[in-house]
């Protein structure tokens, strides 16, 4: 667990450092995701080469354990920032209804457009009638 947490933090750290040092237009954690993803592909190569561990049962070791722990309670992590909502009422200064309208409207549009695109392309591809 500790090793996994270290690896996640390490990827994030390298990501943040690289984004800043190289002036990349991508946020640090995004680079961290890509870094971890490539590391896991490399690791897969190494695991495949060994006999004592089957690839199918692989849960990505320590980093998988740490990731499961964090992602299982993903909702919790948004609470502290969300509580700040009460602070921002003042900054919105009477524009709350307009903001809410834009936000809800856009979320509905995004959900519909995204799911429609996904289904449209999926249906074209597999005409074998996935649900």
């Amino acid at each position: 667990m500790l090793l996994g947490l270290f690896l996640l933090l390490f990827c994030q750290l390298i990501g943040e450092a690289a984004a800043r040092a190289l002036g990349l237009p991508v946020p640090g954690p995004v680079i961290g995701v890509l870094l971890l993803l490539s590391a896991l592909f490399v690791r897969n190569r190494l695991v495949r080469g060994r006999d004592d561990e089957t690839v199918a049962d692989d849960r990505q070791g320590a980093v998988g354990e740490a990731a499961d722990g964090l992602l299982r309670h993903l909702g919790l992590l948004f609470v502290p920032a969300g509580v700040g909502i009460a602070q921002s009422y003042q900054a919105l200064d009477g524009q709350l209804i307009a903001v809410a309208a834009a936000l809800v409207g856009s979320t509905v549009i995004t959900l519909i457009v995204t799911v429609a695109t996904f289904r449209l392309v999926a249906r074209r591809l597999h005409k074998d009638g996935r649900p």
Binding site: Q12, V26, L74, F78, T107
Partner: protein, 244 residues
């Protein structure tokens, strides 16, 4: 031992209320209670644990006249975990690489259409509603998970406080409406439903999707990660193009 007098209670309160321990414990405890409540409500989308927790804690802070800064000193430990949790999506992406490969084309299409729509639709609606440029900019990355939305806010010079609040509000909104909306549209493909939930409403939508269906959760996590990457790449050029 001294007897408990009101003065001693007050002293104890002064100690606790300014100590990170109290608000960290409250945050986790309230969320656990909210999760229990959501389970009792059979995961009705309206009983959203994130929203319930936020409301409950805001009320507690009001009643105890605690300012947000004091609260955040304790809660920051939870908040900090957002960064590594974002990186942890690499694991969920990796685990679902076969699903991703199978649905590569629908995923790519839904991402390439959905990410700009998430940005442009809110910019358009906000402009129509007559909101000022500062708020429009803070709304633009609203569908992206908070830690990355904050990175985007830095690029497009949007207010970080507003950006975080809008991203969380969008997450809660999406998590609440996705199930009834998809049922109304009669979409039964949980991969597609999850993908839309994660793209439109990031981590909070993903948390919701995991409650509904495992595959939906995996696709939601995937959409959240992909959308974060794509939006981070297109947000700044898009804002420049629109002259914002």
């Amino acid at each position: 031992m001294t007897s408990p007098t009101p003065e001693r209670f007050f002293e104890l309160w002064v100690f606790l209320s300014t100590n990170p321990l109290l608000w960290l414990t409250v945050t986790i405890g309230v969320f656990l209670a909210a999760q229990r409540l959501a389970a009792l409500a059979r995961f009705n989308p309206l009983v959203n644990p994130v929203l319930l927790s936020i409301i409950a804690i805001v009320i507690v802070l009001r009643l105890t006249e605690t300012d947000y800064r004091t609260y955040f000193e304790g809660a920051q430990f939870v908040h900090f975990a957002l960064g590594p949790a974002t990186v942890a999506l690499g694991v969920s992406l990796y685990r679902n690489r076969h699903l991703v490969r199978r649905d590569a084309l629908p995923i790519a299409a839904a991402l390439l259409v959905g990410a700009p729509v998430a940005c442009l639709s809110v910019i358009g609606l906000a402009t129509l509603c007559g909101l000022d440029a500062g708020i429009v900019a803070a709304l633009a990355p609203k569908s992206v998970t908070v830690s990355i939305a904050l990175g985007i806010a830095e690029q497009i010079r949007a207010d970080p406080g507003l950006t975080a609040v809008f991203a969380i509000s969008t997450g809660v909104t999406g998590a609440i409406i996705v199930t009834p909306l998809m049922n109304a549209l009669r979409i039964k493909d949980f991969a597609a439903r999850g993908f839309a939930a994660g793209l439109a409403s990031h981590g909070i939508g993903t948390a919701r999707a995991f409650l509904v269906n495992d595959a939906a959760g995996a696709f939601a996590g995937l959409a959240m990660a992909l959308n974060a990457v794509l939006t981070a790449l297109i947000a700044a050029p898009l804002m420049k193009l629109l002259g914002l």
